[in-house]
């Protein structure tokens, strides 16, 4: 029971992380819900093997990104979600239409990147260090630097 309480606390504290991953890797509300639930389920499945050797966010990113990739294989099927009215995902309420628009533009441009790039830019924008990004993705620090340079350029060209 304590195990479950601890898990719930971690999910609540890091719900934004899951939200951002689902938003970047999906193209519809239905798919977003499906992936969100799948990530929580996969986190719960691996929770017992998490041994505090890495930061909790590092572990969560790793599982969430792997689940997102595995989700790319799934056929889009209806009827496996929680009811929509119960769906209270942590959607950002920025109280500013312009900001919300900018966030939407940013998401839409990130979605245009390829699968490898999406994961790297997500971690970068979330303020993760090169070491942490390397740890989560399995690429070397130098490789991350090179890739980030390319992604930044791509994003700026796309947006402007």
């Amino acid at each position: 029971m304590q195990h479950k309480e601890e898990f719930i606390k971690i999910i609540k504290e890091n719900a934004g992380l899951i939200y951002k991953v689902t938003k970047v890797y999906t193209n519809s509300m239905e798919d977003e819900q499906d992936l969100y639930q799948e990530i929580v389920y996969q986190l719960w499945k691996s929770f017992s093997s998490f041994r505090n050797e890495s930061k909790i966010s590092t572990w969560m990113y790793r599982i969430a990104l792997n689940t997102a990739i595995a989700h790319l294989n799934k056929e889009k099927k209806k009827g496996s979600h929680l009811p929509i009215d119960e769906w209270l995902m942590n959607k950002p309420d920025l109280n500013d239409t312009l900001k919300e628009e900018q966030v939407e533009i940013l998401y839409s441009q990130i979605k245009k990147l390829d699968t490898i790039e999406k994961g790297i830019i997500l971690l970068y924008l979330d303020g993760r260090s090169y070491d942490e990004i390397a740890g989560i993705t399995g690429f070397s620090n130098t490789n991350i630097g090179t890739r980030l340079g390319r992604i930044k350029q791509k994003l700026i060209t796309q947006i402007n």
Partner: protein
């Protein structure tokens, strides 16, 4: 929009998400339970039904194999039974392979590698299944004609003519189907190429 601006917007959005905290304990608990996860069953039920039908047909042909006379019907029977048993094995294996990413143990790069390789293998198996399925139609018709109606369809009908007419159609259809897979193959190959950099 410059990169620093992107980072600022992203940060503000992240802060706004953190403030909301709308996930309830009950909702999280429900997400950890397997009851909503009927997706796997949706894939496996048709596969299981298909496999059972194939196995029944395999047994039917095998039990009645000695009735397939002359030799060309026997050849058709053997080919049909081999294909019938091979098809579900290939299909189930490809589906499992595609869904076998080690979510708990992999890093992002490893998952992308497994995903891309699984995808390529899946398309290969789909193509193979398509060819085998088409061949099965050709071999199964005379076999069932003999076993069910005791008729040698090569003699009592103009089955050969049907095959000749069907071939161009089959060729056109195969070209069309495989064109649909080209994009998937290209996508998977691009990821593999990118990972090598």
């Amino acid at each position: 929009m410059e990169l620093e601006e992107m980072k600022t917007i992203w940060g503000e959005m992240s802060a706004a998400i953190e403030k909301q905290k709308m996930l309830t304990d009950a909702l999280i608990i429900r997400m950890t339970q397997a009851d909503y996860r009927n997706k796997i069953n949706k894939i496996l039920i048709p596969e299981a039904v298909g496999s059972a039908v194939c196995f029944a047909a395999f047994l039917f042909i095998l039990i009645n194999l000695q009735k397939l006379d002359p030799w060309y019907l026997m050849v058709c029977g053997i080919m049909s039974s081999l294909i019938i048993i091979l098809l579900p094995v290939l299909s189930v294996k490809a589906i499992y392979k595609m869904h076998s990413i080690n979510i708990g143990g992999n890093n992002y790069k490893q998952s992308l590698l497994e995903y891309s390789k699984g995808k390529l293998q899946f398309v290969f198996v789909q193509k193979l299944t398509f060819y085998l399925g088409s061949l099965l139609i050709l071999t199964l018709v005379p076999v069932m004609g003999k076993l069910i109606a005791n008729a040698d369809m090569f003699k009592v009908t103009r089955l050969w003519y049907c095959y000749v007419i069907m071939f161009p159609f089959f060729y056109w259809f195969a070209t069309w189907v495989f064109k649909q897979y080209r994009k998937i193959i290209q996508g998977a190959e691009n990821i593999l190429k990118e990972l090598e950099i």
